[in-house]
Amino acid sequence: MTSDLASVHDELRTVARDVLGAVRTRTAGSVPAPVEWSVLAELGWLGLEVPEHCAGAGASLGEVAVILQEMGRAATSSSYLGSVVLGVGALNLLGAARERDELLHGIATGGLRVAVVVPTAQAEVASAETPFRVESSGGRFRLDGQASFVPDAIDADRFLVLARDQSGDVVMVVLGRATPGLSVSEQPLLDATRRFGQLRADAVEGAQSALLRFEADPATSVQHLADRGALAIACDSLGLAEAMMEATAAYARVRYQFGRPIGSFQAVKHACADMLVQIEVSRELVGAAIDAMVRNDPDLGIAVSMAKAHVTGAAVGIVGKAMQLHGGIGYTWESGIHTYLKRALLNRSLFGSPRAHRKRLARRYLSVGTNEIAGSRALS
């Protein structure tokens, strides 16, 4: 990373920490209020990856990742995952086209929110069953299928549904909210900072122009999108783990028991030290995966799986320990630690469990000669 870019990130981080932190602080108790969408638009965070000719900043995932990490840190409630991470990400994978550019413009300027209907339960989606089928004939299409755990579906104005067409390729179907045959219902989860939905398409029909195609190989594109999702979640988990480490260390410095600050006891001190080690490790893995994605490294899937597997697992451990070290207070609703624990747990399951991502990594051990693996992750 150049030092110019590093200072851009530092600035972005400072602003994001202020803005999102303030929302979190204002939020009564631990019930998270969503951050205003218009604020995100004004700050330019929605269009970071949108090309400049579509009113975006033409920046990269590197900048989006800064926002994501800060959103994790503040346990922010927003549609950023649906519209920006997945929405802009998916649209950028299409060939340039008027429909696409209009959608990107709408997202960047804050007028439009989208939800992408892509599998969110698996690490590897390219080979998985696609739950939607689309058939075209005579300039019209017909879509059928259903999906659960669709991020930010409730607040979306448009849906970008990945569906398999007659030839077996995955294409993107763009649907308005009021499309006949399309039903969307909220799917409440324990993590109250996120909003998911169930979506069902029963013989939804539309004009062929709403059916967009990926620029590159569709299977690769879909997997790339899932990897974006996984990486975004890893950023989120890193941020929330940092917040919990800092909160725990701060509490341990001031909470007295037995006439001493509890942070002077090794049981507490060493647990905090382990948090710091895990966070340092997590930062490296997340940073490497972001770099790989920005460079569009052919091995980016490896870097993403390493980050997703390790960081989302470690974050659950860190938040759990934070709850433990806060004692009774940590277990109250009011302390808000439960908010982080539920979010960390959901992150662990979203876009493939740690186990699923390690399975993906381990497949290389079977199919590749041992010499090829060692050193494959050589540093640039």
Binding site: A121, A128, Q187, Y256, Q324, Y331, W333, K342, S349, S353
Partner: protein, 369 residues
Amino acid sequence: MGVSEEEYVNFQKAWFQELRHAGYAVPHWPREWGGGLTVGQQMVLYQELAAHDAPRLTLAFVAIHHAASTLLAAGTDEQRRRHLPAILDGEIWCQGFSEPEAGSDLASLRTSARRKGDVYVVNGQKLWASGANHADWCLLLARTDPDAPKRHGISYFLMDMHAPGVDVRPIRQATGQSHFCEMFLTDVIIPASQLVGRENAGWQIAQTTLGAERGMVMLELAERLGNAGFKWLLQACVRPTPDGERPIDDSLVADRLAGFETEITALRFLCRRLVERNDEGRGGPADASVVKLYYSELLQRMMGFGADVSGLAAHAELEKPLSSGWESGAWVLDFIGSWEWTIPAGTSEIQRNIIGERGLGLPREPGVQ
């Protein structure tokens, strides 16, 4: 939560009476007071209850366990006659031990009880009193000698929760439920006849009755974990996920399950041994802590594994079934609820101190009493 507090209380009270009439409500009490099952018989009873998914007696918990064992070990005859039959008739108890500044360092509690003639006048604030909003009586620790060293100025009282000056406010927990309460005590009058044991001997009474007590409680919880908890975990692993695969077919999942089954088996033996040793007067000074620590961390690991294996679906389980106890199959909630075992009644860190010091004779930290 789907069930109202009122429904919960009514259900628990009815279920208690049902068990009582079957002779199963207080199997661990002495025969003369309505119990009298052997340890082996109790285990079979708890296995059967768990196997049939029978609700646990959560509302009566403190009454039948902590209150009863305190009264049996340290109460006066009059206190026993007053309360033990009343508990069988449905009297609900809570525990007033912890305070905002006295968590792990319980002995630093500040609630004061000043003697005035034949009553005590109590002022202070208590925290984490489970079920206090439904309780008729409270096991209260309060400081009667502010000048004595920390542990030597504390007395043990039976406090009427309906007495003037007792103000209870529920605290919402991480799981969303509100089983715990804050308790504000303002000039509450407790007759001296409701003192348990000697004045200023409260710390010792609390320590011994809690230790002896723990075995009984664990016996039930271990059987529950072994019979209901493991079964549900196994079912969660055998059920196909949305992509059609069964977790159990992943040999890593099968390996973890075998590990849990092994640990639960050991826990069950350990609990039985603890109760037996206690009955024979051969209990070790760290026994209760070993079992509490092992159970609570095993519970936490198991529930965490259940949440992991069940994937996204477990996050859509927004409430636990009525009176299910610690493991219910709503794994994410079960996992979060497991901190209710690793934090209260001596955190895992405090248990390890006790085990190291009492079990292995390791020296205390200098300056910490």
